[in-house]
Every structure is written in C-alpha cells, then in structure tokens.
Amino acid sequence: MEKEAGPGAAAMRLDDPWYEVPATAWGGTDGTGAVVPDGRSRPGEQRGHSAAEIYLEVQSSPAFREVRRRYRRFVVPAAIAFLLWYLAYVIAATTAHDLMARPVVGAVNVAMVAGLGQFLTTFLLTWAYARHARLHRDRAALDLRWETQEMTRGAGR
C-alpha cells in the first residue's frame, strides 16, 4: 500500500501533516502539481472535473477501496464482538446471579473476574486498534488525502 513517495518523506508527513498543508508542495514528486503516474488506476486524471465527480472517482479507486476495506475488516468484527461481550456481561449480571457469585480464588468470584475482564479487553482492543491503524491505514490514507486535495484544489464546486 505504500505509495511512490520515499519512506523518509512519508514518515515526516505522518509526524506533522498539519504544517504541510500548502497542498501545492504535494502534487507529487515531479513538482508539476500533477498526480504522479505510477501505473495504477489514478483517480481523477483529467482536470476540469467538479468536486463531486472527483470524490466519486476517488471513492471508486482501488487505493481508496483498500483503505476502506482495511478499516471495515478491523472495525466491524471488533465492534460486534465487544458490544456482544458487554451485553452478555450486563445481562449475566442482572439475571444469572448464581453463576456470577461462584467463587474463583479467595474472595474473588466470577463476577469480579468478568468485570475486570471488561477492563482488560477494552485496553487490549484499544491497543490493537491503534496499532492496526498506524501500521495498515495511516500512510495510505494520508497519500490519498494529498492526492484528493490536489485534485479538488482547482475544481469548481
């Protein structure tokens, strides 16, 4: 998914993208302001498109679909899993008293373990999500951001 810009440049952009905003500088490595041809499908090649057309083209470009696919493939199962786990916990706490009161170690019972388990899974999922986004999504999304901004810059809205 890493695009044409060198790793050093990409890392710098990731660190501090806010100050880079003058989008002219990011037209591509050839400095002409055109999107660099890289042999892949490039959204919005021709100028003179409206912003709406550009967004539609970016949306259907393989690069964007890949970013979206990576986001959804992580978020959808994770969200369903933690919501179900939380609902199961709440319903068990209100209805399955005997199960929850069963002792595990000393004064600690199943209910305590389940409650602390909710804390633990929350921390773990937070870590996993942040890591996944950093490794698999951030750079590709940022490249798309500059490309799209470059394309919409001249477009009449």
Partner: protein
Amino acid sequence: MRGDHQTLALLLFSVFIAVTLGITTWVGRNRQGSAEEFYAGGRLFSPMENGFAIAGDYMSAASFLGISGLIALFGYDGMLYSVGFLVAWLVVLLLVAELVRNCGRFTLADVVAARMAEHPVRTAVGTSSVTVSVLYLVAQMVGAGSLVALLLGGTSDTARSWTVVGVGALMVIYVSLGGMRATTWIQIVKAVLLMSGAVALTVLVLVRFHGDVNALLTSAAERSGHGRDFLSPGLRYGGSWTARFDFISLGLALVLGTAGLPHILSRFYTVPTARAARRSVVWSIGLIGSFYLMTIVLGFGAAALVGSADVRASNASGNTAVPLLALVLGGGEGSTGGAVLFAVVAAIAFATILAVVAGITLASSASVAHDLYASFRRPGAKQRSEVGVARVAAAGIGVVAIALGLLAQNLNVAFLVGLAFAVAASANLPVLLYSLFWRNFTTRGAVWSVYGGLIPAVLLVLLSPVVSGSPTSLFPGVDLALFPLENPGLVSIPAGFLAGWIGTVTSPEPPDPAKHAETEVRSLTGAGAA
C-alpha cells in the same frame, strides 16, 4: 476540627478558582476572536494534552463521588457503572473519533449537515445537542450544590443555592472570556488533580491492607452487613424484573451515549488531524480506565474502612463515601492528617465540577451559535459575528442552567446523568452513525432519527416513575407513570435507529451518491479537513 477542614477546603477552593481565572485571562490576553480559536482552541493541542482534557471532561464528580459511593453501599452493582462508562469509549475510538475529526468543523451537526439539506438537519441536531448538554449541566449543578453543602456542613438551602449560582457564574466567565483554549487548560489541570488525588487515596487504601486485595474485599463484605452477596451482582438491581430491565436500559444508554455527547465530540476538533484525535482517545482510555479501576478500590475501601452503615448515615445515596474514607485514611476524625485529606478531596471534587460544567457550556454555546442561530437568522438581519453570539449564548445557557439547577435541587444526580446519556444515545448517535456509514441515508431520515430518538426519550421520562406516581418521584401526588422504567434507553435508542431507517426508506428524494462519496472519502482520508 470541623471548622479546621472547612477553612482549609474553602482556601483550596479559592486557590483553584484563582488559578483557573488566571488561566482564563492569560489565554485570553491576545485573542483574535476567530471561530477556530473560540470553538476549537486553534486546533493545535497535542494528543496527550487533549487526552487529558477529554478525561477531564468525562470524569465528573458524579463518577468520582457517585460511583465509589454506590460501590460502598451496594458493592458489585456499583461497579457495573464503571464498566459501562469505560467500554463506551470503544464506540468512540472505533466508530466516531477519527471520522468526526475529518468531516466536521466545530459541532456534531457539521458532520451530518455536510451530506444533507443544511437547514432542517442543523436545526434538529442543534436542538438535541442543546437538550443533552442542558440535562448534563443541570446534573452537575445539582451535584455541585449538594456536594458543597454537605462538605462544608451548611446543609441549608441558601448555601446550596448560592453554590449553584456561583458555579454558573464562573463557568460563564471561563467560557465567554477564554473559549476552548482556556476550557481545555482547565480540564487538563483538573484531570491531573483528580488523577493524583485518586492515586494517593488508592495507594493509602492498599497500604492499609498491605497490598492484599483479598483482605480488602473480605473485610468490605464483612463490614457492609451483606456478607458474600456484597461481592456479587444483585443487591441494587437484582429484585424485580422491572429493576433488571431498568439496569439493562441504563447499561445500553451508558455504552452508546458517550459517542453522542456534544462536549466530547467537540474535543476532537482541538487537535490537528484524525491521527492525533485517535491518539488522544487512546490517552483518555488509559486515563479513564485506570481512574475507574481506582474508584472500585476506593468504593470497596470505603465499605471496609468506614462501613456501609456510616456511609449511608452521612448521605443516603453514598456521595460522601470518598471524603469520609479520606478522613479515616488521614488518621480519623480530629487528626490533622484527616482534616487535610478531607479538604483536599473536597477541593478536587469542586474543581471537577467546575471544569466539567465549563466544557459542557462551551459545547452547548457552540450548538446554539453555530447550528441554531445560523439556521434561524432572518436573511435581512444585521450580520453579527458568530463568536459574539456564542459568548452571549454561553451566558444565556448559564442562566437557564442556574434556574433549572435551583428547581431540580432534590433530583438524584446519577439519574440526571443517566438521562443525559440516554438522550444522547437515542437522538445523536443514530444520526451520526447513519451519516458516516449508510450510503442511502437522506435528509428526511436524518431529521426523523433525531426527533424519533429525542421525543420518545423525553416523553418516556415524563411518564416514568421518576416524575410521578411513586413516593420518591418529583410529583408524588400525581400518577401519570405509564412507563415502568426509570431510564428510557431500552425503548428510545432502538426508536431513534428505527425512525432514521423509516424516514430514509419513505423519503421522496433519492439519496445523493456524490455527497455520500464526499463524506466517505473525507472521513477515511482527511481530505479537505478543517
């Protein structure tokens, strides 16, 4: 003795007020009055700063005092709140934070209005945001009044009323003079104070039991008067099926409401990028999670060291458990250590309330000026600067909150907070998720989903045992309680989602694929983000 710690507590209150007013003037010294600065603090906070500020906005006195108090009284059932309040952040992290940062400018309505007909959508989302904020604000004001009255011994109504008025006046000053930048710094100071206070007390509790958690739990169970039952669920919510459904309803509202709270959403605009928004949520989850873990220790510690009976004798809903625990940990009634710790805890709780109300006031003044005023302004009317309107709106909201806070003084704080979460989950979350993720969502769907969640939530509360029909309700004399549950979430949250779906499928206008493409591309890449 009583006089000593009151003087000390008052002194610490004054120091905190002086420091925060100092921050406000320092921040406001060279302001330009741009909307970017007033609503979003210039968008230049670092993820760590914003993470602390989010934690500061979220950890209200209701959780510091309320949850520990509930644990001290009901044991495990109080812990269920901590879990709900924390797990809610996964919804924010996974589904909301980055996308909202990328799509919006200042408010929740920005995100929805980008895809839809601007006028009706802004009106609807602005209305529900203001409703949520005002409910939450009233809860905090009521909490402030009863807390200060309790801690300072003056349980008289005059002391309470003046506290409510004073807190209201201070929050208006912070917000109108300092905007988001001052509010954020106040949140950071408060989060640091609250975390240090909680860490200190937790360490003292654990030292008392030589680090043996098992001994802590066992003696908590013994002194609670409930024995083993204290450590398992059911003491508070285990009775009738109504109570059980009530709890499930509350649990749903807690976990889904956070992502719809306007003052939390507006915090994501104070950082430069979506990546920074994500990192600030990671910071805040770390802070909030460890804080709630500590409230559990403090709650069981209060049960073990103070005893549930004494906690209940001091305040029926347990709100004074932590201050009482501090008194015992410092060496007991009459000792200098006890007086100092008690005063410090009281001052931290007060700082917490002041910071939280400032954050909510700012978010609701943004909704009024940026969403409602912009929609209702007559075309020919004189152009005013939006920030000027927001400053006036902050004062107006302050007056409304003071008035409602004075009226609602006898309502239970935890109930009001639960209600604010239920309205946020029913009215704000469906419209937000649909606009971010549903291709065919239309303007009618957006408007219906807001009102379809907001109206049932408010109506069901009016028809619930909270308002009438039971000895503890607001109007015990009348009986209009057609709805058995105290928290409307179980019905009103699905209603909001359903209304949005029906509104969309019956919509005469076709969905606009280009607008959806724009929202989707912008939300996931950050193209064109403010």
